[in-house]
């Protein structure tokens, strides 16, 4: 059994993991940059180490700093959270070489899943349906054009090393392909140091449905139902719910079984998410696997009653899963809203600065995952997530009402601070969301239709989670 876990992350997820460690009686080490002095998670930690300056690549993504911090504090495991080093197979391998248990899949599996086009091949080989597209990366504009002509427009160009909505571009006209391929390759080379791109059919009116899976070293692989993450702005999730409303139960079960078959074939271990697009006719296609805990994991915890982070730590220690597929009996409906320090009226630009009032909602079946308190500062260096507000209710209508109540209760103010709180409230009220007709295009359509203005950074460049 692991004894002391170093949490190689920050913010709410560092606090979430620290809480799981405390509840399991494990020691924990919290690391932070100079921009995150006195983080909330430190109050639960046995040791706190300042590992570097504000920029993430010199602190939370500095492998030597993290490994040294683990060594000097006697940690024997590393939990990477999400983002930062969480899907870096090289980091996972170095942890193992230094005698540290990496809380995640084996490094070779991470490497295969990190190559999004390779993941597509492997899942397809395991019998998981994938979207029409290129066989692996395309050689250049000519091949991309040929693939697009074969599968039909629009298509989406994706960086092999991308994922999580990053490094992708939609093309609607064959003549635009050469230019788009060059741009996407240049962007991918700059951001991921890997210029390879692949082509897939672009599905416009689909729902983003993802399956939570958990696997152990004994060969057990279980799915914990789905999350509907269709409410996105430019591939960044704003609201997630489970179960997916009006998705036929038989279809949801089929997708879940399919996801388990896919990850089992890879030798996956720990918590993962298999993402799918589901079209109105029920056609479902694999998108990618995230080999880490997700931001929206609480949604699944609320409906299943299973503590995913605890389970991650136990599985990493070599224990079998504490539940079987039959034990997973999702109940009721859970919704999560991500309240970000962003201004919807100005294209969702981040609004860093002081938070002088921060009163989170409470009440029945209401969970708020946040590391913020009044007096804290939203820094410019990291993502703009202020809090995840999660509610549970026996049915969806009650969950929506509960979420609207909770968001209304949330008091967060600061001199320059704008948040997505009110915008999320409008989504809850939207007839398409209420009726379960929402697709991944809903938020962008809402913005285009005269809701808050839609200026902002280029497409597909954003947070990985």
């Amino acid at each position: 059994m692991i004894r002391k876990v170093l949490i190689a992350n920050r913010g709410e997820i560092a606090l979430r993991v620290a809480r799981a460690c405390r509840e399991l009686g494990l020691g924990c080490v919290v690391v932070h940059s100079t921009a995150d002095r006195d983080p909330a998670a430190a109050r639960l930690a046995d040791d706190v180490v300042q590992i570097g300056p504000a920029p993430g690549r010199h602190s939370y993504m500095s492998i030597p700093a993290v490994i040294e911090a683990a060594r000097t504090t006697g940690a024997d495991a590393v939990h990477p959270g999400y983002g930062f080093l969480s899907e870096d197979p090289y980091f996972a391998e170095i942890c193992v070489e230094n005698g540290l248990t990496f809380v995640g899949p084996p490094p070779v599996v991470m490497a295969e899943l990190g190559d999004k086009s390779r993941a597509r091949e492997l899942m397809s080989a395991a019998g998981v349906p994938v979207l029409g597209g290129s066989d692996g990366a395309v050689e250049g504009p000519d091949e991309a054009t040929a693939v697009a002509a074969r599968i039909g427009l629009p298509v989406i160009l994706k960086a092999v090393a991308g994922g999580g909505g990053r490094g992708m571009r939609v093309v609607r006209d064959l003549r635009d392909i050469p230019h788009a391929v060059r741009e996407t390759r240049a962007h991918a080379r700059a951001v991921f140091t890997d210029p390879r791109v692949y082509v897939e059919r672009f599905v416009q009116n689909a729902r983003h449905i993802e399956i939570q899976v958990m696997c152990d070293d004994q060969g057990n692989a279980v799915h914990l139902g789905e999350r509907d993450c269709s409410v996105q702005r430019r591939q960044q999730k704003l609201l997630e719910e489970s179960p997916a409303y009006r998705l036929p139960r038989a279809l949801a079960e089929e997708i879940g079984t399919c996801a388990v078959r896919g990850v089992r074939s890879l030798g996956f271990r720990g918590a993962g998410t298999v993402e799918f697009l589901v079209e109105p006719d029920g056609t479902y296609s694999f998108l990618e696997v995230n080999s880490r805990i997700q931001v929206e994991h609480p949604v699944t915890e609320m409906v299943t009653g299973i503590d995913l982070v605890r389970e991650q730590l136990l599985v990493a220690s070599g224990w079998p899963l504490s539940f079987t597929q039959d034990d997973v009996r999702p109940r009721g409906c859970a919704i999560e809203c991500r309240v970000n320090a962003e201004d919807p009226a100005r294209g969702f630009v981040p609004t860093p600065g002081l938070v002088d009032e921060f009163t989170i909602p409470g009440g029945p079946f209401t969970r708020v995952d946040t590391h913020f308190a009044a007096g804290d500062v939203v820094g410019p260096h990291y993502d703009s997530l202020l809090a995840k507000v999660v509610v549970w209710a026996p049915d969806r209508e009650a969950a929506i009402a509960r979420m609207a109540r909770a968001l209304g209760e949330f008091r967060v103010r600061g001199p320059y601070l704008e948040t997505t709180r009110a915008f999320l409230g409008r989504i809850l009220d939207h007839p398409d969301f209420r009726a379960g007709r929402h697709t991944t295009a809903m938020v962008d359509q809402l913005i285009a239709a005269g809701e808050p203005a839609a200026a902002g950074p280029g497409p597909g460049v954003g947070n990985a989670c």
């Binding site: 430190a42 639960l44 040791d47 706190v48 300056p53 000097t72 009044a374 804290d376």
Partner: protein, 167 residues
């Protein structure tokens, strides 16, 4: 390295002055910042030096961390006195005072050092990273012992400026 229950007040980056007039300006700002800091309970001190900017931060009353308030003033070593500078650790690792076990230390209290002179080693991932004095001065105190685990930006030693020697 500090613990969750007993957290030291973080040390600021050393004031790395290049021009003499910037020197005196930074020192004057430092001195007045110190007078403000003396009111106690300071949680953050950040000093920038092009165009000199000092930020002091006290805890909000409702979120005040008792340990931060209890930190004695002596735990503010950088700028601890006008005319001194603090050499901080460039990374997480293990501090070594000497080039090898049993060898004499790089420097001892009272020694004069040149700008750029090696004053210690921080070992990280089995690599020996030299730590150098950023300017000439006299070693006032060594804040860590040989073999200590150190974190990023942790004060290692305090130097008194020595303006009679070239920087």
């Amino acid at each position: 390295m500090s613990t969750g229950a007993d957290r030291a007040v973080p040390a600021p980056r050393p004031v790395d002055a290049q021009a003499p007039d910037a020197d005196s300006r930074v020192e004057a700002v430092c001195a007045s910042a110190l007078r403000m800091a003396a009111t106690g309970g300071l949680t953050r001190l950040s000093i920038r030096h092009g165009e000199v900017s000092v930020e002091l931060e006290w805890p909000q009353p409702q979120s005040a961390a008792p340990s931060a308030q209890a930190a004695p003033a002596s735990e503010l070593p950088a700028c601890a006195a006008p005319g001194t500078t603090v050499v901080v650790s460039p990374m997480v690792g293990t501090f070594h005072r000497a080039p090898e076990p049993g060898a004499p230390p790089f420097v001892a209290e009272g020694d004069r050092v040149r700008g750029g002179q090696q004053v210690g080693i921080v070992e990280a991932m089995k690599l020996m990273n030299p730590v150098e004095a950023d300017r000439a001065g006299r070693v006032v105190s060594i804040e860590v012992t040989d073999g200590d685990s150190v974190e990023y930006d942790q004060p290692l030693l305090v130097l008194a400026f020595d303006d009679t020697e070239p920087k």
